[in-house]
Amino acid sequence: MTTPLLAVQNLAVTFDTAEGTVHAVKGIDFTVERGRTLGIVGESGSGKSVTSLAVMGLHRGATVTGSAQLDGTELIGAPDDHLRTLRGRKMAMVFQDALTALHPYFTVGDQIAEAYRSHFGGTRKAAHARAVDVLGDVGIPEPARRAREHPHQFSGGMRQRAMIALALSCEPDLIIADEPTTALDVTVQAQVLDLLTRLQRERGLGLVLITHDLGVIARAADDVLVMYGGSAVEQADAEALFTTPRHPYTRGLLDSLPRLDAAPDTALRAIPGTPPSLLAPPAGCAFHPRCPAYAATSDTRCTGERPPLRTVAGGHRSACIHDEVTA
């Protein structure tokens, strides 16, 4: 058995705030193989973005425990000097809003060249040529000219392509994309998503795709991790997750989604209540206050311990004690 590209085990992230300790991520496990896409889906406060920042070592002021191994190298607790050599080089990030994620003062070409030089050295000229190359790779017309422009001179779609070019510039093995298409228009979103999946396939990259959009997950992900209130509540391959969702939250999410492919006048079944507060999360299963299974049974196990992920079918894991009841 070969080592997976990224193996995350029992990863937990806590923040100390003035109002108390926030457990943003409460011990999650997942692996990402080369050439595969893991989709992490969840709503605001689910801990999906915090997870990616923790893996990259970009969390500021947070306490991270557990393990995250990139190609066998432990990332959690590694000195920043060492992490720095991996960031951008072995693992790279694509952020949501390229307008704020790219630096307004420097040209797009300079920003890419800077990343390249910081890992490979070489002349400015060579780095700039490399920047023009990757801008061409991501489908930016006239890359030599556009490399000399600033981010605000790009359209939204082109800016996100430039962000992807920046991530690709040092040929990383792993790309973490945090809501890469959310800020974009529908037609542009489709282009960028196609670009990301094509590059991932062609280069055999491991891709972590973080999003709140189940449609994006269905289009691009091989495996899916559903997060709620800082925990993984369900983990499966994409096919299984959409056809036989096991956890009440995943089902609720799918039922509450207005769908283009639904028959007209299909009623939406909304999940009642609101996502949990991070400062005062509910005891036991974070979803129980909104869960139909708990509402029906008032099972004390839901309010006791946080239910762990359990295998419910081959490669399909769910964190619900009612699973044998609802399955």
């Binding site: 990259m56 970009l58 920043d80 720095r84 050599t85 991996l86 960031r87 951008g88 080089r89 790279a92 990030m93 952020f95 809003d97 704020t100 994620a101 790219l102 630096h103 307004p104 003062y105 800077e114 990343a115 910081s118 890992h119 600033h150 605000h152 920046l166 040092c170």
Partner: protein, 329 residues
């Protein structure tokens, strides 16, 4: 860019012309009669009338204003006959009290003001920006809290109090430095510094406190920007992340404020100059006001507005140079 510059320069000229007209109106309509001053205490009514004629003070206001404005560019001869005075380009009027053109008086004082302003600015930038950056990067630590409490304390000190304490301790008690007087840099650089160091500190302390707090806020805000996170995600060294990606945008508002403050300071640091008896533009203004030497008061007002308006322009150009998004204008 050229069009923008031309537009700005035209606007600047217009502003100065309006300031000129306003000060002209204020000073020539209200206070003491320049003819009386010129003539002296025991002056007969006829003599005053004669002086007024010869100085052109009897002309309509608009004609006088015209002479004043053209005089700035072409120089002019004030008065006729025995009272005629030559006031060469650039003529900002003539002080009959000190028997000198206003321009010469101002140019005498300007080096002092420039020395004071630049030295103090360098000092408060070093202190203020340094403190602010350190405080922001060590946010929440004891060092940060100590520095920020310190800045509140310093900001609360009135300038005259600082000046008096410094003079008393350093000059009177310790005898480390002579009582400050202005010595030109060209004359003796060492003494230029040793004489100005106390006024610099006085002027710099208050501003350093303000700049420290502003820099701290700006750096904290910038370091939380997504583009700083991107710089880290690229794998850059923290020094480069902070120095290049964080500090440049963080210091942009500081540059803006510095430009404004320098413009104001070149126009005279009235209190500091007075406290240390330094012959700067501010002192000239105060003295002239006391003596009702209107031409000088007016000249200094114009010079001050010139410094302020032009520092505004310089700041805007600098801004466009630093931040490409501002270049669209």
């Amino acid at each position: 860019m050229i069009g923008y510059l031309l537009r700005r320069l035209a606007a600047m000229a217009a502003t100065l012309l309006v300031v000129c007209a306003l000060t002209f109106a204020v000073f020539y309509l209200f206070p003491a009669d320049p003819a009386v001053q010129f003539c002296g205490k025991d002056c007969s009514t006829e003599r005053i009338e004669l002086v007024r004629q010869q100085l052109g003070l009897a002309d309509p206001l608009i004609v006088q204003f015209w002479h004043y404005v053209t005089g700035i560019f072409a120089g002019q001869t004030l008065g006729t006959g025995q009272y005629a005075v030559q006031c060469g380009f650039p003529c900002f009027g003539y002080s009959f009290q000190s028997a000198q053109p206003v321009w010469d008086l101002m140019m005498d004082r300007l080096p002092t003001s420039i020395s004071l302003a630049l030295g103090a600015a360098a000092l408060w930038l070093l202190l203020g920006v340094g403190t602010g950056v350190v405080s922001a990067l060590r946010r929440g630590t004891r060092l940060d809290r100590t520095l920020m409490v310190g800045t509140i304390g310093v900001a609360a000190l009135p300038v005259y109090f600082t000046a008096m304490i410094l003079l008393y301790l350093v000059v009177t008690v310790a005898g480390l430095l002579p009582y400050p007087r202005y010595i030109a840099f060209t004359e003796h650089p060492g003494q230029w510094i040793s004489n100005l160091i106390l006024p610099w500190i006085t002027l710099a302390l208050l501003n350093a406190a303000i700049y420290a707090r502003m820099t701290r806020n700006s750096v904290i805000e910038t370091m939380a920007e997504p583009y700083v996170r991107t710089a880290r995600a690229k794998g850059l060294r923290e020094r480069r992340v902070v120095g290049k990606h964080g500090l440049r945008p963080a210091l942009t508002p500081v540059v803006t404020m510095l430009g404004m403050d320098l413009g104001g300071l070149l126009a005279g640091a009235l209190i500091t100059e007075s406290l240390f008896s330094l012959p700067g533009i501010g002192k000239l203004f105060a003295d002239s006001l006391n003596k009702s030497d209107q031409p000088v008061v007016m000249g200094v007002t114009l010079l001050a507005s010139f410094f302020i308006v032009s520092s505004n322009l310089v700041v805007d150009l600098l801004y466009a140079w630093i931040d490409p998004r501002a270049r669209l204008a």
